[in-house]
Structures are given as C-alpha cells and as structure tokens.
Amino acid sequence: MRFHTGLRAFTTRSTGIVRELINEIDVCEAYAPGTGRPAPVRCRYKAVWDTGATGTLISQKIAQELNLQPSGRENVIAVGPGGQSNTYETNTYLVNIYLPNEVGIVGVRVGEGEIAGGDVLLGMDIIAFGDFTITNYNGQTWWSFRTPPNEGIDFVEEINEYYKRPGMRMASLSPEERQRQRNRDKKGRQKHRRK
C-alpha cells in the first residue's frame, strides 16, 4: 500500500458492539491555520456519525457557546417516520472540525438543528473527505477514518486475492456475487484488450 502525503487517520475501538458511532470532536469558528491569525476558541463536543445525512449539523448550544454567527441560510429536508419529508430553512455557519488524533477539516459549512444523541451530526460531507471503515470483528465495533482518500477498500477483491493463493480453495459465493464477479472479470479483460 502507498500512502499519500499528509495522510492523517484515527481509529476508535469500542469494547462491544455499538449501535451508534460516537466520537468526541473539537469545533471552532472557521479560520485558516498558518495565516498568522489567532486561533479561535475550540471546544469539545459529542459527535454522531450519520451516513443518512448529506451534510453536517451543529446544535444551537454550540453556536451559542462558540459565539458563532450565521454566514448563510439553506433549505434542508428532514425525512421523518413513514418517509414523510418536511423542508425547513436553517442558518449555516462556517467552522473547523477536528476529529480525534487531530484529523482537521477546515472551513466546513454546517447547518443548525436539534440532534438526538449528540451535539454534532457528522454527515456524508465529512465522510467524503476520506476513507471510512467499520468492523465488528470479535464482537467489538471499531471504526477508522483517514483523509485524504488513500486507496479503494473492496472486501470481495480481498477475499478473491486470498483464495488465489496456492493451496487455497475458493470460498463459496452467492449466485449474484458469482455473476458480478464474472462481469467484473469480463470488463477487466475487455479493458485490457483495448489497451
């Protein structure tokens, strides 16, 4: 594996299976580090990872504690029970977010809302900055994040590579997965021929 320059990462290891991915993160008003400007006050909050959220949200409490002022407005859609969706208009703020192990993301536009189980909702905008994995091996949920994105993660490919080793027998795949595998192989052969 090759590592990109400036790659940063963290791993959270829980001692059991968890149903929510929660980290303590730092938030501050947006600023560009390295410009000589003084760093704004930075506070620690409970953050919930949510792949069902397109963007990141902060609670009103954070906006008040950090003395943030809105720099934008945006429309948001909240999908409720039964798939019913409602559209709202909310304030947006520009902040820096520091994930564990000083994995910093500068100048993130976040909305404001009430969040169940935390003060920050980390949405797909943050997740899209890097590679994100979750494992429940040995009855323990671990999640790991690195930024910038470094390499594709493909468990099917890993399994196939493993069984390609001499003396190993191919694991039994489902008919759908076998078909997908055949399609992938065919595509790969066609691509190779075109070259």
């Binding site: 947006a30 600023y31 560009a32 400007r37 919930v48 949510d50 069902g52 959220a53 397109t54 963007g55 949200l57 943030l68 002022q69 809105p70 720099s71 934008g72 407005r73 945006e74 429309n75 948001v76 859609i77 909240a78 999908v79 969706s85 409602n86 559209t87 709202y88 208009e89 909310t90 304030n91 520009l94 500068v106 100048g107 536009r109 909305g111 809302g113 009430e114 969040i115 169940a116 189980g117 909702l121 949405g123």
Partner: protein, 78 residues
C-alpha cells in the same frame, strides 16, 4: 437573521447565477459586496469588513447542482 439577504438571492437567483456562476458571493442587504473563489476566503475578508452575522455567503451554482441537505434521522429543525 440574514433573511433579507437570502430572500434577495432567491428572487435574483437567475441573474446572479449568470453573472457569478461557480463563485461564492457575499450579500449585504440587497447588494453583492464581494465575489470569491473560496468560502473560507470570503468568510475571513467579509468578517473583517462587515463583522459576523452581517453578510450572507452564497455559492452561485444552479439549483440542480446545489445539494439540498437531507437528514433521515436524529434531527429536528425549528
């Protein structure tokens, strides 16, 4: 807060898009007071000039390219 600025953007969206497509614009009242390539740069300059909470930053991209944030759980808005 910033209702007037956001309303201005929404009612003049087409002409602003034509003029500033892809840029971040800063609006104070009903006037575009700055045009920037990055939101952070816009934020810092406008903060120094007007003070926080006095300007609205808007990314000038067509509605179809603008992501409307969507939340499937855990969130309530007022």
């Amino acid at each position: 807060m910033l209702d007037r600025e956001f309303e201005y953007y929404k009612t003049h969206e087409n002409e602003l898009l034509e003029r500033y497509k892809g840029k971040f614009i800063a609006i104070v009242g009903e006037e575009v007071v700055g045009v920037f390539d990055s939101e952070l740069e816009a934020y810092q300059q406008m903060k120094e000039k007007y003070g926080l909470g006095k300007f609205l930053l808007q990314h000038c991209v067509p509605i179809k390219d603008r992501l409307i944030q969507r939340y499937h759980s855990r969130v309530a808005f007022r």
